[in-house]
């Protein structure tokens, strides 16, 4: 499936995956969906400070990629990072506690939604600066090779982020150094409120990989199995020392750029949103799994139920957690 640069056509979607993989993808997506919809409700109820960039709609990408990774593989994320964190295995408790600004949070309450990280899970951080995670992943991949480890680094970024210098410099650096980096473009068609057609003249972000001699592939970002297959191939390739590769996943965010709704100026038509929602990545996988006999409806429902319980417990934990102590304002500014 890997193509040499320049890329010519989209990869074929294949629906074959083991039952185990399907269930894994499903669980990761449900975990993201419920984490996000509950976070959205908390934000709307005025319980969370700061900004909240929701990932709902894009779950197949995080789930598909993360299911292809090991715990010691590293990822760098974006301002829309909850889905990546959840799929990489970061716990609900420390994530909600962080959204609430509690001292038990992933950043001890210092970072909030845009800065969640977890080194034990290879989650090198969400990022408030568009494109900034790309070179950091390149550095993480460099470190793996330097130390003789076979972990890979994956960097997530949006279509909009590929207009920033850090993306281009990072891509070229990874290519020329032949580093084990997988570039995942989550193309949801918009950078904030600007449609892709208004911020780049190309249709496929994957074309940009060609400029750096990097192979690339385009996948249906609503199809977790397709994403997983492409990611598995790219990750194996990188792990084997064949260098970086880019995957462009065409996807969509169901909510607003920031928060749930509250658009003052509609920038997407209702029809467009409805059309993408009709291709809900979780519905797609569930329908297929039940039809294939991979999973029963009851099994799938059970995942939702268990996850709901876990989330309710995590929110209660976050709400009961103490606030940080202002006396510790200078904590972690420096080491030692």
């Amino acid at each position: 499936m890997v193509q040499k640069a320049p890329r010519k056509s989209a990869a074929k979607t294949t629906h074959q995956a083991s039952a185990q993989v399907i269930k894994d993808l499903h669980e990761r997506m449900v975990r993201i969906r419920l984490f996000e919809t509950e976070a959205g409700k908390l934000m709307e109820a005025g319980k969370l400070p700061g900004f909240l960039h929701l990932y709902v709609g894009q779950e197949a990408v995080a789930a598909g990629v993360m299911a292809a990774l090991r715990d010691d593989d590293q990822i760098t994320s974006t301002h829309r990072g909850h889905g990546h964190a959840v799929a990489k295995g970061v716990g609900f408790r420390e994530m909600y506690a962080e959204l609430y600004g509690r001292v038990t949070g992933a950043c001890l309450g210092r970072g909030g939604s845009m800065h969640i990280n977890d080194l034990t899970r290879g989650m090198l951080g969400a990022n408030g600066i568009v494109g900034a995670g790309v070179p950091i992943a390149v550095g993480a991949a460099f470190a793996a090779r330097y130390k003789g480890e076979d972990s890979v680094a994956v960097t997530f970024f949006g279509d909009g982020a590929t207009n920033i210098g850090a993306f281009h410099e990072g891509a070229n650096m990874a290519a020329i150094l032949g580093l084990p980096v997988v570039f995942i473009c989550e193309n949801n068609g918009y950078a904030e409120f600007t449609p892709q057609s208004a911020h780049m003249l190309i249709t496929d972000v994957a074309d940009r990989a060609a400029a750096y001699g990097m192979p690339s592939v385009i996948v249906d970002g609503m199809d977790a199995v397709a994403v997983h297959r492409a990611a598995t191939e790219a990750v194996e390739r990188a792990r084997a020392g064949a260098g970086p590769m880019m995957i462009e996943a065409k996807t969509y965010r169901f909510y607003d750029h920031q928060g749930v709704k509250g658009l003052r100026h509609p920038y997407r038509s209702d029809e467009e949103v409805a059309e993408w929602k009709s291709r809900d990545p979780i519905d797609l996988l569930e329908t297929r799994a039940v039809a294939d006999g991979t999973a029963t409806r009851a099994e799938l429902d059970d995942v939702w139920r268990r996850t709901r319980d876990e989330i309710a417990e995590a929110i209660a934990y976050a709400e009961a957690s103490p606030l940080p102590d202002p006396a510790d304002l200078l904590l972690n500014v420096y080491s030692g």
Binding site: G101, G112, G128, A132, H199, M200
Partner: protein, 336 residues
């Protein structure tokens, strides 16, 4: 260049963000060479509504939505300014100057000097700075000290709606690169704003309140906090003089010195980190010029030496407020 008319009567109140918008629109009407470029400024009207309705009036020739490419965005402004236009480029959050600092510091600021004065760079950079929205470490900084340190740049910090309009107009009319630092927390605040176009002279401080006991020199949002502290202290029989420099580069030290000669005590307050902040510069200049008039060492209040924390409890402790200013004044009065 248009001469600066001083406003006569203020008839109505306007929000800070609307006052900015009005000043910008009037400056665009006044000079055909003024155009605006930035991310989501045209179609969406800016994420802070700074550019609302401008596309309707000025059209896409003068209101330009750009890709997320801050280095190219500022560079576009530099090149266009060098060729005689008067660009207004918007950086949304001040923190994003991190990705385009070369264009600001090494290019815009030095071009006139390096060209032997043969050209000027009448570039205006608008951006929103400051903490208080739970936007955390990468979306909350006040980086005026970085910029004020660079010869060739001017930096203005509007403290209310009136100054937001007047300083913006002056920035656009000025033949030098000027950074207009709007404050996020002040966006919705109101004050009296004349309807006609007016500029506030750059490099001229304003005495926001007269008093005889302590001079408080406050930057940006801290002006309001200092005025509130002054009210509190007035009830205790202490008269605080509040000086709003309005422009931090060039800095009107004469107004400050004159005040110190009357009050003999000075407190400088800004929301930026204290270390290496403008408070140090102001304190040093005061000690150099009017040391003999001081009854106590100049006191500085600013943020601790830490990134801006997310958790509201920490953020509140981080940013100086009226209570800390009042306390600082009391401390100054206890000494001598």
């Amino acid at each position: 260049m248009t001469t600066t008319k001083t406003p006569t009567v203020a008839t109505r109140k306007l929000t800070y963000v609307k006052a900015f918008n009005e000043g910008l629109a009037q400056a665009m009407r006044e000079d055909e060479n003024v155009f605006v470029a930035g991310e989501d400024v045209a179609g969406y009207g800016g994420v802070f509504r700074m550019f609302d309705n401008l596309l309707d009036e000025f059209g896409p020739r003068r209101m330009i939505d750009t890709p997320i490419s801050e280095a190219a965005l500022v560079g576009l402004g530099v090149g266009a300014a060098a060729r005689g236009l008067r660009p207004v480029v918007d950086l949304m959050f001040m923190d994003f100057i991190g990705v385009c600092l070369d264009q600001i510091v090494n290019q815009a600021a030095k071009m006139k000097y390096m060209f032997g004065g043969a050209l000027s760079v009448p570039l205006t950079i608008t951006t929103a700075s400051g903490a208080g929205l739970g936007a955390a470490a990468q979306h909350s900084q006040s980086l005026e000290a970085w910029l004020a340190h660079v010869p060739g740049l001017k930096v203005v910090m509007p403290s209310d709606a009136y100054t937001a309009k007047g300083l913006t107009v002056s920035a656009i009319r000025d033949d030098n690169p000027v950074v207009v630092m709007l404050n996020k927390v002040l966006l919705g605040s109101t004050s009296e704003v004349p309807e006609e176009i007016y500029g506030i002279p750059l490099g001229q401080a304003h005495t926001a309140r007269q008093g005889s006991d302590v001079t408080v020199i406050a930057l940006g949002r801290m002006v309001g906090e200092a005025l509130a502290a002054a009210d509190e202290l007035a009830a205790e029989g202490v008269e605080i003089e509040v000086i709003d420099p309005r422009t931090v580069q060039p800095l009107d030290t004469e107004t400050m010195f004159a005040s110190v000669r009357r009050t003999n005590r000075v407190l400088v307050v800004h929301e930026a980190v204290t270390f290496g902040g403008l408070g140090a510069e102001i304190a040093a200049q005061i000690q150099d010029a009017v040391f003999d008039y001081l009854d106590a060492p100049v006191l500085r209040i600013g943020a601790p030496f830490s990134p801006v924390p997310f958790s509201p409890v920490l953020e509140k402790a981080y940013v100086p407020d009226r209570a800390r200013i009042a306390q600082g004044c009391r401390r100054l009065l206890e000494r001598s």
